[in-house]
Symmetry: C2
Subunit: 508 residues, 2 copies
């Protein structure tokens, strides 16, 4: 870092956004690819973020009446086959278990034992509607057994052809809510309630200013009647789908046999929903908040919110500095923000101050505090915010620091949100002609071909044909039909009538 203009991450976002992303994941020590194609190792710093996300979401799920449970990893082939659209959507990308034992073949090598072939192959769950539906069919007899409000934290597998760490991996971690209701209205209400939970969580915890809406038919979850979603814009102006909530109607309850005796004594099928978010949210945060020096973490999901970096230029003052740092850490841990104790770490490793400082910059710790012999004399510390230039420091007294730290973290959390919101608004445009639309989604600057476009608010005639043509020609899709938009107009692609503007974008 001797050159003041050099960044910790090479290449920069402008130069090569996809490669910048991979380098941030590596430099921040978040995750890495494993030898199993498309499967990642989530390292402690990355997993620590996921644990905080889990705890935040889990509390919100429980506050809305849900309980956790756990269902089998394996789905019989015949279950998946029950729902036609569902199997169509997942058959091309699933891991299939065919044997339950290994033995040594004639060539002396280990192999799946031919005598242990399963009668029916098992699919490693890509999602659990069918296996959970089978359980609900056993549990539900009467309207009194409804609603069932259950969530599962689990790993799922979708054999992705173009994996990208966090954003699209063969195995990923997620939560999947699965609910069954007596009436259509209740199920629709649940679908909307959980989308609102996701929207709140993304905004308040991850500083992601998501747009909420519903998917067009072609982008729906396979088997859903309606898919609601939250979409976020990242710094190369593409969209990332950050969470979905599906109203499944009676599709899955019919195929799984979730039926009950209603209040009028007639046999009825339950109305079901499902909703999920995954470790992909970590990818969305990196791409939204990261900069050319690495990750930038919203404090609410930072495993370490404040790192204390003891500055120990001389061996003889080292122990007194470390002691002062530990003492300061202990008093800061007594402070609270967002109803939890501050997460403080003292980095006492015997490494150069610059090395340690840059490690924490790359990891995205929201606040770094340096404390050295001269600071101790003066009763001050040097404070750096990760959301500001790393040379920009403040020098509060210990007293001012302790009093102000919770507020400082709240400021950073809010600043990341507002910065991302400004960015999204800057790159969201109303577009009314196909020519303008094509120009918007064509790289203007040949030196940075990866960054262009944004969210185009354009009319759409509602037809899958128009949607398919644009996708084919420009790789641009309808990300969502925003909530509450009812401004009729003309579709720029077909000239036909349109009920409202929808959000078009390239996406991950």
């Amino acid at each position: 870092m001797s050159n003041p203009n050099q960044t910790a991450i090479t290449p920069t976002r402008e130069t090569d956004f996809p490669e910048w992303y991979q380098q941030v994941v590596k430099a921040a020590d978040l995750a890495e690819n494993s030898e199993i194609r498309g499967c990642m190792v989530i390292k402690p710093w990355g997993y620590g973020i996921w644990e905080l996300m889990q705890s935040g979401l889990d509390a919100m799920f429980k506050a809305t009446g849900h309980k956790n449970a756990y269902f089998p990893l394996f789905i019989p082939l015949s279950y998946l086959a029950k729902e036609a659209e569902h199997v169509e959507g997942f058959a091309k990308e699933c891991a299939v278990v065919t044997h339950h034992r290994l033995d040594t073949g004639p060539d002396g090598r280990l192999r799946p034992s031919p005598s242990a072939e399963l009668n029916e192959p098992l699919i490693v769950r890509p999602t659990s509607e069918t296996i959970i539906g089978a359980a609900y069919a056993r549990w539900v007899k009467s309207y009194r057994d409804l609603p069932i409000l259950i969530n599962q934290w689990a790993n799922v597998v979708r054999w992705e052809m173009r994996p990208r760490v966090f954003l699209r991996t063969a195995e990923f971690l997620w939560q999947e809510g699965h609910t069954a209701h007596e009436t259509e209205a209740e199920a629709i209400e649940e679908t909307e309630r959980m989308l609102a939970v996701y929207e709140t969580f993304a905004r308040d915890w991850l500083s992601l200013p998501v747009v909420a809406g519903r998917k067009s038919a072609s982008e729906r979850f396979p088997g859903a009647v309606e898919t609601l979603c939250i979409e976020t814009m990242v710094q190369d102006r593409k969209a990332i789908q950050a969470g979905t909530s599906h109203f499944l109607g009676q599709n899955f309850s019919r195929t799984s046999g979730i039926k009950f005796l209603g209040r009028d004594n007639s046999e009825q099928f339950a109305w079901t929903t499902s909703w999920g978010v995954s470790t992909r949210l970590i990818g969305a945060m990196i791409m939204t908040h990261g900069d050319d020096d690495g990750m930038v973490l919203p404090p609410r999901v930072a495993p370490v919110q404040v790192v204390l970096l003891p500055v120990t230029p001389k061996p003889d003052s080292r122990s007194s500095v470390l002691e002062a740092a530990e003492k300061l850490a202990a008093s800061l841990r007594a402070c609270r923000v967002w109803d939890e104790p501050l997460r403080i770490e003292v980095d006492a490793r015997d490494l150069g101050g610059g090395v340690k400082n840059w490690e924490w910059i790359k990891k995205g710790a929201p606040i770094r505090i340096e404390i050295g012999p001269r600071d101790i004399e003066k009763g001050t510390v040097a404070v750096s915010r990760r959301d500001r230039d790393h040379k920009n420091k403040s020098f509060p007294t210990i007293c001012e620091l302790t009093a102000g730290l919770p507020k400082l973290l709240e400021d950073i959390q809010a600043n990341l949100l507002s910065r991302a919101e400004t960015f999204r608004l800057e790159h969201t445009h109303q577009i009314d002609t196909e020519a303008d639309f094509r120009a918007f989604f064509t790289p203007q600057n040949p030196s940075k071909p990866k960054i262009h476009g944004g969210f185009a608010l354009a009319h759409w005639d509602g037809s899958s044909e128009t949607e398919a043509r644009i996708k084919e020609e420009l790789k641009v899709t309808i990300r969502c039909i925003p909530r509450g938009e009812f401004e009729p107009g003309t579709c720029p692609f077909s000239g036909k009538q349109s009920a409202c503007r929808v959000i078009w974008a390239k996406s991950y």
Copy 2:
């Protein structure tokens, strides 16, 4: 329940212990078998217990310096094959993924697509030493990179031939710690530290008075140098292995290539450990604490510690009783025990009081509180402890209740531990001849053939032959070589010298 001698669970423990167990799992709504052989559905009450176990253990792991991370579900066949004993131990019971896509066969039916066969089959992890070892091999270069102290919460699959819910299932949930160290001594210290964590957790959280020790060679984890374990005795006097901590020496670091440049600049292999407990602990708790009326939960892992049962004999007083119950619940939620708010639930369902009362008895909620119109008048409630006869109630005032509830929960927690400890001691005998040993493990009462034996403290000559013969003839194995026992003697089976008594028992 009109017959006062009738129990909520049929059969009773004495009549048919294995069937009693299945019926408790069902009656307490803990879990159920799914259609996938050996795979269970963990229902919300069972999963709630697991969540509390996780939170208790996780805090203990973190307090001992560990962090969580996540590694791939799939293990390449060749990895498993690297460690000879390891593959021998797991090859016979693993789920093998051979294809990554489905298609429609010539008969019109869905099948694993022949064009999507994997070059190398993948094993669904039965345990993760090999896949985690591969990651550590990438991470470790110098002694400065050690120790690595990581834990993973995950699902694993072992294709069990005789599955039994919680105790032995094809898929189960667990945590697996995997650590790598610079020296042998540090790795051994870690192995012992984590066994001590398990022992403390089992005793203080689950009220399980486990015995700690080490396994004989034949019972070791495949590939381990030494396996430490905690063993508990359940009410049919069999042993359940409740947790294991393995010292792996350099076996896995050699096969995985976890090597580093040491302080003396020589290349060395790391010393590794692994340790785990699983959802089987729930089975151990059921079999230890349960009675003929169902589950009995230690309060520390009870999702609901105190259930309030409003008694509403007349429609016109119903709302005032419910209101009083909610008010009481709110004030009780402000009380704390074991440093957490009490977990209180008001069961306001419009069902008969007896039905609700028995549901909570069967689920094992530690305390039930009835509150009705007359109680409200008198300012008292009726309190029942799950660890005492259900007809045995006390009638404290609201004031006494609030003041005494945390202590009451602590009492129940301690009582369950001491009851189980007394039981274990009653059925632990020093045995010095093979004839006595055989008699001890032979059913004495033909009407209850399943309950006999216990822990036999007998000498052993240390040979695998003796061990194998007893296992073959009596289905009795060495459960553990207790810590700190050094009383030399004579092996009753071979007449040879013995270093100490070991614990023999039948086991799950």
